[in-house]
Symmetry: C2
Subunit: 441 residues, 2 copies
């Protein structure tokens, strides 16, 4: 772990809402996003969440007289996407985050004057509209949970659940960048071709097996040139941070279309991400060893094997999915939690997926998005998709209020949440990635 | 066919090189690209090819006093990509192309004065550096040749060459946008994981079965909103034009990685396109009926079936691949043609692939690129990839000069060409999509 003063659990902020027990955005977090005030035609710009407010980064940095790399990085947040910040690289990201942490901290010399001078550059979060934080170039989705791959493989290929390549290759595929949307964007049920096993011909119509997938999304910061690879030892330096990601999936469309080139329209109608990018620096305290391979599993090939990555290349990030139906909303019932998993249960580390991705010379660019794949653990209750929880739709989930679900119904609101907790450190949250499912158009 | 005066075979240009027999860019073509003068730091900008020169569109249009939609469209060509032009839509593209055709035509009133005034806005092609013409958002690759799908399927799955979905679903998958490069960019042999069938474990190293795929690339012009579909009857209005596309493929990497989510690193190291986008308007004379399905094949589902598309939704576009080895270059030998195919042999029409792509509400954006998939016909000599020509590497191709090839070797230059010809109309060409293969880094 590479800890610095921003990780100190003792640091408090003069933004008092950040110091409240249970706050997702204490001063130890400081995630980046893009916002503007609701109902205005203000230019969208970069912000950092703390407590219940958003730091208007570029304006705040000018007023706080940030200098050097922190100042340069803050100015790169002035536009409608964070891509200019991402291009600057990890030294700049870190300088800005550390400078913001100092400027927002309570107790350091001059903090009361800073509070008086800088409070006007904080925008209440409930007055803000949050946007997609980056212009996504390419979106790649991996498949790093061996538990998910085994569960889902069993349904699509009962005789052959886990492919022979799985424990050698961090399997991934290209996803659709254009339809990545920010939390809160409604998702219309897609139409598509489906064919029941006993039907003589397929038909076209609304998806009948609509599902979610609990994932994390990793935002590429600095890229690599076409033709160059990225060594595993420096792979994490290329990653800016992490968002929640719901890879909406039309299971009936997927089953019919996916052979031989993989999922396409079953996924490309929408992918929801959370608006706040939690930086890799903020995640340092929650690093854990890479997933321990079972006896008999092969060692990763040399280009995917690094001692430091094995020792602390995992990240303990809890992810949850919640459902609230239209009837539950009408009855005033709270959302129901469908699953709780942890990214640390994934078979391949983030560094392994990045190194693999660039191992053929493929160029990653600032703003590219890498999905973890569905995060499912071995424990009951940790499965990150309805198709796993309901065993392919055969075992409905009961909801409070008497309803049951095999797959998502119109009017259901699907809300993903996430957090990192560790004894002796602050608990930090990811906000949410939420979407209300609308009937097919 | 929607013909207009730009298609008249009698029209000649005062750019005399455009009137020479065999010229790929007669006045009936007028393809769009992005260029700047070689060895300068000029800003890249939009151009139109005619004969052996490039029309510097925005400057030419000002001097020619183009008006209305043509003027607006010409100004949208002033920047480093054609995306602003694409966003304007088909009425603007057509107005500009028709106005340029008139301004460049010989014989119309005032043509000699126009020639005298406008010649300074023509840049010799051999003094220009051609760039990627658009910023590609998402790149999708289809699989529309049933002959290719059958040939390749037989090698990967001898017992099951053509999947049951093939004749119902225009199969496609997401490709990698970041590594699409313009003709002339060298391509380094990729490294990757491969596993011989009899090996106990995979290994990592340079690809040993490097291949090309002869495709066409369709550049999306105007897009659709997320959640909306595109009716097949208006699908072609969303397409700006066509480029040559070589989907470089590492067959040994592909065989090991592609299950269950499709090709990934086997393709993402490079995709080469030609610099000139031949517009859909220029292609009108070469429209032909959709591919005639065999007796017993199913009819397309209603959302993929349109009478006009069946009658003239195909395009007769010849595509060729040529190879010139290092030894052939040293010996002064010309390139050797490996194949000649025609896009009209593809099972799914362009309109069907566009309508399918958006049928789930997926949003297409200006600058998206849609690949046809490898174009292979039923005739010997029409197979668009070495893996087909050599039957999986078992039957080498002889080259003039005594060499033979199963797959691509370092130093080979791979050059794709294309053209449209029809009795009573001009013959138009696509330029080339060329790449020299370098050793693995």
């Amino acid at each position: 772990m590479r800890l610095n003063p921003t990780h100190s659990p003792k640091r408090k902020s003069w933004v008092e809402s950040a110091n409240v027990e249970g706050c997702e955005f204490p001063i130890q977090n400081l995630p980046f996003g893009v916002f503007r005030r609701k109902g205005t035609d203000e230019a969208p710009r970069g912000g950092v969440a703390i407590g219940d407010v958003i730091v208007d980064v570029a304006a705040f940095a000018r007023a706080a007289r940030l200098r050097g790399a922190a100042r340069v990085a803050a100015q790169a947040c002035a536009g409608p996407t964070l891509n200019p910040l991402l291009e600057l690289g990890s030294a700049h990201w870190s300088a800005l985050r550390q400078a913001l942490s100092r400027a927002l901290a309570m107790g350091e010399t001059g903090w009361e004057q800073r509070k008086a001078k800088l409070a006007e550059f904080l925008v209440p979060m409930n007055e803000a509209e949050l946007r997609l934080p980056v212009a996504i170039g390419d979106y790649t989705d991996f498949y790093t949970s061996v538990f998910h791959a085994t569960n889902i493989g069993r349904m699509f290929r009962p005789d052959n659940p886990l492919m022979p390549n799985y424990k050698w290759v961090p399997i991934g595929y290209h996803g659709r960048a254009s339809s990545v949307v920010v939390s809160g964007t409604p998702v219309a049920r897609p139409r598509g071709q489906t064919k029941a096993p006993d039907a003589v011909a397929p038909s076209f119509g609304p998806c009948r097996r609509l599902d979610y997938e609990v994932e994390l999304g990793f935002v590429v910061g600095s890229g690599n040139r076409l033709g160059d690879s990225i060594p595993i030892a420096s792979a994490l330096d290329h990653v800016f941070g992490v968002v929640l990601l719901n890879d909406w999936s039309a299971r009936d469309i997927q089953a019919w279309e996916y052979q031989p080139l993989g999922p396409f329209l079953a996924k490309s109608f929408a992918t929801t991400i959370s608006p706040w990018i939690v930086t890799m620096e903020a995640l340092e305290p929650y690093r854990v060893p890479a997933f321990k391979r079972a006896e008999g599993d092969p060692a990763p090939l040399p280009h995917l094997l690094d001692a430091s990555d094995q020792a602390e290349g995992g990240f303990s990030i809890e992810v949850e999915m919640w459902l609230r139906s239209a009837r539950m909303r009408e009855a005033g019932q709270p959302a129901h939690r469908l699953s709780l998993g942890n990214y640390a249960s994934c078979y391949w580390t983030l560094a392994q997926t990045v190194a693999h991705h660039a191992s053929n010379g493929c160029n990653l660019r600032p703003g590219d998005l890498l999905g973890s794949g569905t995060i499912s653990g071995p424990e009951p209750g940790s499965q990150g998709a309805l198709i796993e929880i309901t065993e392919g739709g055969r075992k409905p989930v009961d909801l409070p209020g008497g309803e049951a679900r095999t797959f998502i119904e119109d009017g259901d609101e699907i809300v993903q949440r996430g957090r990192c907790a560790r004894d002796g450190y602050a608990t930090i949250g990811f906000g949410e990635a939420a979407g209300l499912v609308l009937p097919a158009k």
